[in-house]
Amino acid sequence: MPQRLWLALFVPMLALAQAAPPTAETRIANLETAVKSAQSAGDNAWMLVSAALVLMMTGPGLALFYGGLVRRKNVLGTMMHSFVLMALVTVIWAIVGYSLAFGEGMPILGDLRYLFLNGVGSAPNPDYAGTIPQQTFMVYQLMFAIITPALISGAFAERMKFSAMLLFTTLWMFVVYFPLAHMVWGKGGLLNAFLGGKIPCFDFAGGTVVHISSGVSALICALYLGRRQGYGIESMKPHNIVISVIGACLLWVGWFGFNAGSALGASSLATSAFVATHFATAAAVLGWMLAEWIRNGKPSVLGAISGAVAGLVAITPASGFVKPFPALLIGFLAGIVCFLMVTVVKSRFSYDDSLDAFGVHGIGGTLGALLTGVFATSAVNDGLKDSSGKVLPLGLVDGQAGQVLNQAIAVLISWGFAIVGTLIVLKICDVVLGVRVSKEDELEGLDVSMHGEEGYNFDA
């Protein structure tokens, strides 16, 4: 009887002891899950904010920046170029764009595995960003696809038919943007240094994909469409530099999402890119301002904000690879070079790139892409590793002089794609719809002739 009593006491105690402390393995597993989900939460929060910031660059940022630079009769038409792309590109992206850019396919174009966003859900895609839902990655990349064609609109502002502009952008996305995005950022892309590209190019946030592609395409558009009626004769002063200043400031802030967000997580690399972006922009403002002050005798506000955009463009490919002081240098150079481009070179060749999409984005992007090859260092970005996991040197400052050549090849390929692709697309649009508005419509202004409304109804 006492024995039974002893047992009766002992057995429940044993059971209790087994239930209370879990094994070490379980605890570690639980901890790992918790750490992962905490990192995922942090990264995802930053990436969603970044995606929103990049959308803000197009609307209202670019819409205001460009809108202020045109004449009053074209302010709505110009803002609409940016705004409508927030809708049009989104739909194309959802249907097939994301897949063509980021599906693993040929070296120059992705496949259709993500058609209709099939399989793009809450699970991360470890090839691109292992700590955030692939859906976050997808929507973040969408915002880049939106702003790129919107940048081109600066070249054909005030004279392109709205219908032709919609068709142009749709085709251009397929012929130029999706291939370039895939080549530079897609898995297996020809130029992707990190995911098995044959020609390893460093382009952190889109110097080639976004800025060279849009800037060079812009030049082709400007040449193809010809000058605006009255160019060089009547006044084409910006109608409202005040809203352009607001737009430029929004671009500056939004660009933190663009560049620091390209770290694809809330990491120290994101901080580094954030700092480089800000420093380059500041130096570019001073560079442009100084050059203009010396050359024209007065430092204009339009010059200062143009310098900011030039700096933002130039640091884009380099932002996740360079230290703060090279960033200052890249920005300062971009400010001066882009200033000379839109003043001296443009007036010598007399093409009408209405809002200087080429001078700022094409040239700033090219300069930035090349300088990335010079200043990229593994001290900032240790993402490039050999098969044994050893961190590889990146640019000229790391002793890799050949990287400048790789960057130059990537630049040439981007220029080539943009020139040929844009010419083909423009020709198609011209045959199908006609790209340019009639002379009467142009003189009346696109707001009334294309959209049936006016931007400023002060008597209303």
């Binding site: 084409m236 002063k237 839109v342 003043t343």
Partner: protein, 132 residues
Amino acid sequence: MSACMVKKVIISMRSQDQLTMKKIEAIIQPHKLEDVKEALKSIGVDGMTISEVRGHGRQKGHKEVYRGMEYQVDLLPKVKIELVVPDQRSAEVIQTVVNSARTGKIGDGKVFVFDVAEAIRIRNEDRGDGAL
């Protein structure tokens, strides 16, 4: 009704007797408008019409540069003041405008003086300098 008609006839006859009003049109620097208004008020002139206009005389404009595109801006912002006064006051009013609008620099503007054939107050159809 007929009394009213009679009154109108009398008024218009009287206004024909006194064709003695002057319209003073002054084109001045925009920043002198307040001075001119104050000066006119101090001599008891309180009706005027103002418009924002652009123009230039012998004054040269200025250069504006937008990303390397140079524009010579020679139509500069000015303010046009129009007022109509009884003939006997016109000299004093003109002198007041000229004195208060003057900075002594080129671009101060001009004053033009016209004879006025008739003035009618819309509210009650007063005519002549009684309508002023």
